[in-house]
Amino acid sequence: MKEIFFPKRMWRSRGELKRRYDVVIVGGGSHGLATAYYLAKEHGAKSVCILEKSYIGSGASGRNTTIVRSNYRTPEGAAFYGESVRLYERLSKELDFNLMFSQRGHLTLAHSDRALVVMQERAEVNKLLGIKSSVVGPREIAALCPELDLSDRPTWPVLGALFHPPGGIIRHDAVVWAFARAADRRGVDIHPYTEVTGFQQSNGRVTVVETNRGRIECGQVVSATAGWSTLVGDLAGVRLPITTHILQAFVTEPLKPFLDVVIVSSQLHVYVSQTDRGEFLIGAEIEPYTTYKGTGTLSFLETSARHSLELFPQLERTKLLRTWTGLCDLSPDYSPILGKTEVDNFHVSTGWGTYGFKAAPIVGVTLAELVATGKTPELIAPFALERFHTDTLVSELAAAAVSH
């Protein structure tokens, strides 16, 4: 509060690279910054740096559609994200920065009875793990979101929904800045505009991180570079089963807020929320082709607009204001890849698809523990890279599937 009247720097300005850091974290997004913060806070790490090739939060952290939820299909996923939401709930206070976490509820719509069954399954998994989640019918949906078109007019009428009360939206940039500030105050060196160009290895370990600003000796390395993780992995000789796709989103001009809940329809490939600024924020599913090219497509705008109007015809004359794209790293089973790799001290956080931002705090906690103790926390054991060698996948695919 007092910073309102006495502005204080959020973080030190960029300094020189030190000769050595115990932990070098590649990627200054929410995952990297959270990991740095928890390393310093929980494990007393003194020598940690973040290398970010652009500005902090320039990648997926600042481009996602800010939805936080934990109603996943697999028990592994739900338990993991459940913990993440619990951490998010406490985070504004802990970091003394209002992340504007708005838990006004999250509705995943079902437009077919097949989709209802998938919702039912998710609700049952969630309930067993203590996550608030239930299947609701049109009447309850109408009470939660009277503005939604629940008539028979749409081609795909709404039959029901998975209601997840703790789900909601958060101010994504604030998460990045709050973690950055907290990490910086605990001595983490943040180096924006510092790009990793290579890793030197000996005896199966990374010993030196090369950057465009010079070399750093390192104890451990964490790569939290969503969108570019395969490229950074390649530099370390770690092959990842990842394809990179773009995801597009747009906002409208601000309207007086009336939509309180987050509405998701995988049948229509859209999710819709209204920010505290009054803009409607509408995102699509991942584009089916792989690319690093960040230009959007007109067909995305057309399809997403059409589908949004199936849900909210009253937005017909609302104007689209701004569009953007982000990169998503997709794993074969739609679950993340988190933890150790075959290079002894090279850890990854990748394969997040569209779910990475929701996991930032728990990734920070668990990766920090792994890096500090060398032991993989139980919560993230199912997400090890090794599962693709043992073929024990954690399938979130059915939850992502449209219908059958």
């Binding site: 320039s58 206070k93 009054g278 497509t297 109007l309």
Partner: protein
Amino acid sequence: MRLPAQPGELIDRAEPLGFRLGEYRLEGFRGDTIGSALFANGRRVFSRSFKYHRPRGLLCCSGHCPNCMMTVDGVPNVRVCVEPLREGAVVTPQNVLGRLDMDFLSVVDKFGGPFTPVGFYYRTMIRPRFMWPVYEKFLRGVAGLGRLDEHAGHSRRYDVEHRRARVLVIGGGQAGRAAALAAATAGPGVVLVDESVRLADVELPGVEVLAPARALGIWEGKLVPVDSGTVLYRYRAERIIVATGTVEQPLVFPGNDLAGVMLPEAARRLIRDFSLRPGQRAIVLAADERAPEIAETLREAGVAVPRVVDLREGARQLEAHGRRGHVRRVVVDGEETKCDLVVVSGGRQPAYSLLSQAGGRVEYDESLKVFVPRDLPAGIEAVGSVTGEGIVRAEGAAAYEGSGKCFVCICEDVTTKDVKRSIEEGFDSIELSKRYTTVTMGPCQGKLCQLPSIHLYAHELHTYEATIGTTTARPPWAPVELGLLAGRHLEPTRRTSLHFRHEELGARMMWAGPWKRPYAYGEHPEDEVRTVHESLGVIDVSTLGKLLVEGPEAAQLLERLYPNRFADLKAGRIRYGVLTSDGGRIMDDGTVARLADDLYYVTTTSTGADAVTAWFEWWNAVWGYDAEIVNVTGALAALNLAGPRSRDALQRLTEDELSADEFRYLDAKHIEVAGVPCLALRIGFVGELGYELHFPSSAAEYLWDRLLADGARPFGLEPQRILRLEKGHVIVGQDTDSESNLLSAGMPWLPKMDKDDFVGKFALEHFAERDERELLVGFTMEDDVVPAEGAQIVVEGQPAGRVTSARRSEQVGAVIGLGWLPRDRADAGTRFEVRVDRRLVGARVHHGAFFDSAGERMRS
């Protein structure tokens, strides 16, 4: 109020139009915009600003800025300065608590300053945590601009029209018109698009003029969508010439947002287009060469211009002061002048957005002090001032010192103080600062604030604009209605040839993948189940995917695609097949009938036809077999006639022999039924004697009617699901998911591991070596409760498996189902618990079919 008729004025004084502003009835003329009509009626305040609720008036009069956004006929955020006046239009102000000239929320402006610096919301309302929802509710109450009628439905027809152009010229100024005319000399196909209504009547020989209309962006493939109101013209052009000119930039100085501070174009449009005097007493402040020209225009309109300041002549201190939000006086270097109009010119910034979206580079031109486009992609050109041509360097466009709020971004109410503070706090790159202050993120999308904010960053960081760079220009160039982008909103729906018969019979239709199918025909699906068990039912299974695989190597192709054998299948016989992915996971299933040595007839699931066709074609291309794959799904209707009476009933309609010896279980035969040639497959998905008839879809209604007339009762998808569950049959995609394989899903007998190779063999070998964690098995509930599909199977309080199918079966006399169980609990008879409505209910594992396990009925 109006000036004498100006040459070329847009208004038709002979045709007055009445409209309303709140409770007031006002009048304008045809040709007016709502904005000009309001101005003519003496209105100067049009809106209240986003954060501080400061009164705002016409600034650009070109549809860029947010100052004139009002609600018109229920549609919020309409820029009334460019919205044509209509008879009876109802205009209401927005983002106002009270009246436009008395907004209670303007307390934020008067007293809130110290409490609401940039990013204040990040620093406050944190404790206590439980109060945040209350704070947020308040924040949301004051956020946003216009209010939408939340329950309005579709009101407009939007359409999309695809067009082609040899040369598309965007912008109808001098340069654009000249380029269009030049292009037209080389032949037809030249189109010129311009936003101005003035261009609508311009005749350019050989050029098609589209105006008023707006090019929204340039996408890959030289795709340019053009907004013309309710039709979106999607142009594909061979060559694009961008002549979008420049955007006039405001000056940054304290008080620069007061009503009465206007850009030159705004003053010019009021005078020239609408014959309105923009003020009585004006001061001209210009950072470029245009001061004399502006003053001249004003004087010609009868405006007194006591002071004309060319800011290039030296650093100046500027301040504007007002009363109730209207400008009243301007202080230049301590010298005060009274006025009611300040025309400001901060120079002109090339409108490069379209070029940048198209892939052009944008760089800062040190000599012009603006951003200019460079390195345009092939086939995209720029002409006129958008290139920087003819632009005079502006100096002194910013005077940051002085008292009062000094806005760098009027959309978002971002002041110079906010930007300075963000830099002090460490948001020291343009992108970070943009995200923190929200500068350039409002309705003008940077048109009026991008350049001034970059100048400010450069100033504060003591660096060059070129080092700071610019944020990315993204489409659309101007906000566009979602309805226009959406176009028509119908979605393709697949209907079988019997769709309308089902509706006539009162079936409840449901979506099944891309198809509409009958759920059931009556209230009680179990009645339809009983009919099938006891007499004769018929179900429309036309949605099954149907493929022909033909050629000398068709057998080899299928042999390698499927885990089981098809090369040894005899002509006229049928075998069940499951397709697996190369990862060994179950993809799809169906029956395969061999019709001849080199011809197979393959069915897939209802949603699988396209994917299986693509899968077959892909592998066929890889292996290079001599076989053709033809998707004939829509060519054929399919009916499954099932029940103990099916043989007799069908026999009455055909002369072909159907006896059990002649037509055995799993035979495929050509028969003619009631004059319709059919491929009849004797298969038993629902567990009773049955025939699946495949025949030309054109004859579907006829044959259906004949079967019904003969006593067959239709049954829907729901009864079919119960019937197949009684047989323990798996539905791919319901009982299996993307990780299921044949070994875990209860079909270890299916893959023939001694085959040389098949898709997924390597993975299946691997699965065979390790133990499956969970298995798909049948179960019978101990109590008469039906668990939800998706219900959790619980072991020691933890989720250990899940129910994938469950139904009450009269035939079995119990609730039965399929589900995934841990391997060590999957033996027949093992008891486990299922969570049903918060309690745990016992169930026992059951292997195989739940009745008639030997399959005597379907083989009878």
